[in-house]
Symmetry: C2
Subunit: 453 residues, 2 copies
């Protein structure tokens, strides 16, 4: 079994997952707008042989807690939030191997400009870029880009299908590999026969091209996706090379992973063409008691209201206006009912309350223990089919530092973490033995073959 992939899960913002933790004296996230905060973290991650830095994003401030956005501002919940692609660009020179994975919504950039920005990142980084494709669930984000309201869920995925289609054509179909001759004697930089327009005409976009950037080391960046809906999973199975899941237990992950892999195969790809990243966090101690004491110390900084506001925004239910003691079953929402069943199975005789939901969503993927216990737990996730971990922090860089210094050596000894980076691009590092480019089973490449036929 190959080692797990490790990514640091973060955001160019003050408060990301464990809200309130920015008030901890050792949290550097309060200096999120300083380059040195991030170069320090990136170098630490390379010392720890982490595969990637995975940056989330937010594009709007929704008034979804007590009918207002005030709490989000006060507690810096994904606000302010700087541009993660710009941050990745700024980290290229400070790193050599680290994958730079950033979130970009189909809302925020025209695909012609986006494709060029990504090619530029991929050129300058020597092929270390990953794109987390999102469609944005925020109504405020949609309005910031001139829409009247959030586009309906399935229509957003239709939009995403066209968006990636435009980007694929630009990245994969516009320049032949042999177009660039850079022949100073013949005075020919590129062969015009090797550069073609894409002439995309679709429901939302008309893009003649050609692509403004030459082929970068990966051409198409590593494609990542995080949707958990039926349509989101279908999108991941078709397009993604890595998908980000947040399961509450390895058994639940196994069910999700089996489904994802089966769908991937149904799309004409191989089961191992899709990597599964599970979101997890850890509190580490040299004994279990020490770990529990540290967890209590850390939790003293957590804002329960902040957690509730975060969950409220994601689910579209304003917990700030509701009694946290109310049973989850009062709310006819598919996701909530699934949670209630899961909770009530795990806690026989108890009815899930809203407060349980908030705690469970925030803490169910956190584990408190010794390095050996954490390694045992990670072996279970690995056995369930998880390929990698998106590691959320309590404090940054503290959580990553402790993990790297105390847990990584145990993981390496057990073959659960890599000793050294593999050479090559991000795609070659994450798919050992494969090419820097998308394989022929991927729809971006298949459609090119169809065009050439």
């Amino acid at each position: 079994m190959r080692p797990l992939i490790f990514n640091a899960f973060s955001m160019a913002s003050v408060s990301h997952v464990y809200h309130g933790m920015w008030t901890h004296p050792r949290s550097e996230q309060i200096r999120h707008d300083s380059l040195s905060t991030w170069t320090h973290l990136a170098r630490l991650l390379e010392r720890g042989r982490f595969d990637g830095l995975f940056l989330a994003d937010a594009l709007g401030l929704d008034p979804t807690y007590r009918g207002s956005f005030d709490l989000y501002v006060e507690q810096a919940i994904h606000f302010p939030c700087n541009d993660p692609a710009i941050l990745c660009a700024a980290l290229i020179g400070a790193t050599e191997h680290l994958g730079l994975m950033f979130t970009s919504s189909i809302l925020q950039a025209h695909p012609f400009a986006f494709a060029r920005a990504v090619s530029t990142l991929d050129h300058l980084s020597g092929g270390r870029v990953g794109w987390n494709i999102v469609t944005s669930t925020s109504a405020a984000a949609a309005r910031n880009f001139g829409l009247d309201r959030l586009v309906e869920h399935d229509a957003r995925y239709d939009w995403a299908d066209e968006y990636v289609d435009v980007a694929y054509k630009l990245w994969e179909h516009s320049w032949r590999d042999d177009a660039i001759q850079a022949d100073t004697q013949a005075r020919v930089y590129a062969d015009p026969a090797g550069v073609r327009r894409i002439d995309h005409v679709g429901a939302r976009y008309r893009v003649p091209g050609p692509h403004a950037s030459s082929p970068s080391p990966q051409r198409t960046p590593l494609l990542i996706q995080a949707g958990s809906s039926r349509r989101g999973r279908a999108f991941a199975a078709r397009h993604a090379e890595a998908t980000f899941i947040v399961s509450h237990h390895p058994d639940a992950a196994r069910v999700a992973i089996d489904d994802l892999r089966a769908q991937t195969v149904a799309h004409g790809r191989r089961a191992d063409d899709l990597l599964i990243f599970q979101g997890l966090s850890f509190v580490v101690g040299s004994t279990e008691e020490e770990a529990q004491r540290r967890a209590r110390e850390l939790d003293a900084y957590v804002s329960t209201e902040g957690l509730a506001a975060h969950v409220a925004r994601d689910l579209g239910i304003d917990f700030g206006l509701l009694d946290p003691e109310r049973p989850v079953s009062d709310f006819p929402n598919e996701g909530l009912q699934g949670f209630a069943r899961f909770f009530e199975e795990a806690h026989p005789g108890q009815r899930a309350r809203l407060a349980d939901l908030v705690n469970a969503m925030s803490y169910s993927s956190r584990f408190v223990g010794t390095p050996e216990q954490i390694a045992d737990r990670l072996a279970e996730w690995r056995a369930a089919g998880v390929d990698g971990v998106n590691l959320a922090y309590q404090t940054t860089p503290g959580s990553f530092e402790v993990f790297i210094d105390h847990v990584m050596p145990v993981l390496r000894a057990r073959g659960l973490a890599q000793h050294e980076y593999a050479p090559g691009t991000l795609r070659e590092k994450l798919f050992p033995g494969r090419s820097a480019r998308l394989n022929a089973r991927h729809p971006a490449v298949r459609s090119q073959a169809a065009l050439a036929a």
Copy 2:
């Protein structure tokens, strides 16, 4: 008289101004997609106490030479062209003082996303960002963003007026300076009363906000503009803090500068609120003969056809289909007629031919001479009212290296170039004694005052 400002004029592309020069054995521009090419240049520029790196841009490939885009591809004329904002981001960590000035068209990014990208750059760089505002004259660029054709000239400036209005509101009006409290004891990161929506509703954009980034060191980046049309100059006089001109002679520059400064004052600003950057290039020798010999050596690499294709695209006249011997007066174009008058005054008894036009547009701002002769010439430009120079290269980094090593010491001795960087942001460096922020005479700030009143 204060020293001249010096910017290196370049492009994330292979061939920028002196086409064909990429074939020179010492040209590094052929490796335009490698970060090290640019970090090397940026560090050289800081060693030379250059104020900025000024990056041009191109977003489309126009078939304006022999009815085709082939020559542009073959000679890499602004194609491929990577994203200059991403390149600037990648150079932040390699530099400490250098201004990072990039071109971004109103075509290419939605102002909500653009404003956040710029704020992120300004935060991470400690306030070293400049934005060269362009409306794009390329029909191919317009079509890549879904337009049927190039928007008519004056309508593009109406669009630009709204675009900067949205950006100003986000940068200047959305966050109060005292909004961020970062009070870990009170557990208040930002005061919600200090963050407000902008609720922009205009002809092209509806943007509620608030701005996703907190106020950066400069808030609004240094605003640069390069339009030479009547409407372009009016835009510069109203909005720009620096404008880029390419005059053929200091006397012509003086006329343009007097007009620009008068218009600036007419907009309620001070004459010295607008800096004038003149585009120039130099070939340096220890004697005049050596300089001329070097110029001949360099010119052996130049592609006259490449120059013609560049000018053809800018003027919308396909020189590839025309006899270069034809008189300019055959073409009823205001810009061409102005050129013809200028040429015929300088060359009594000769009629300007198309070939003269191409050479003049490419070479009229180039001077060949000794460091002392170049200093004399720069003193003339300074006396004409020019504040700074956008220095175009023949080879890069070679042209900049020679200038820094041989011309800069002479300029410093004469007070024409700075000895050391001033502290602070780019705005503070270029406007000594002023604030990091736009002054109260600028429309971005005036409209804020109006809102508050």
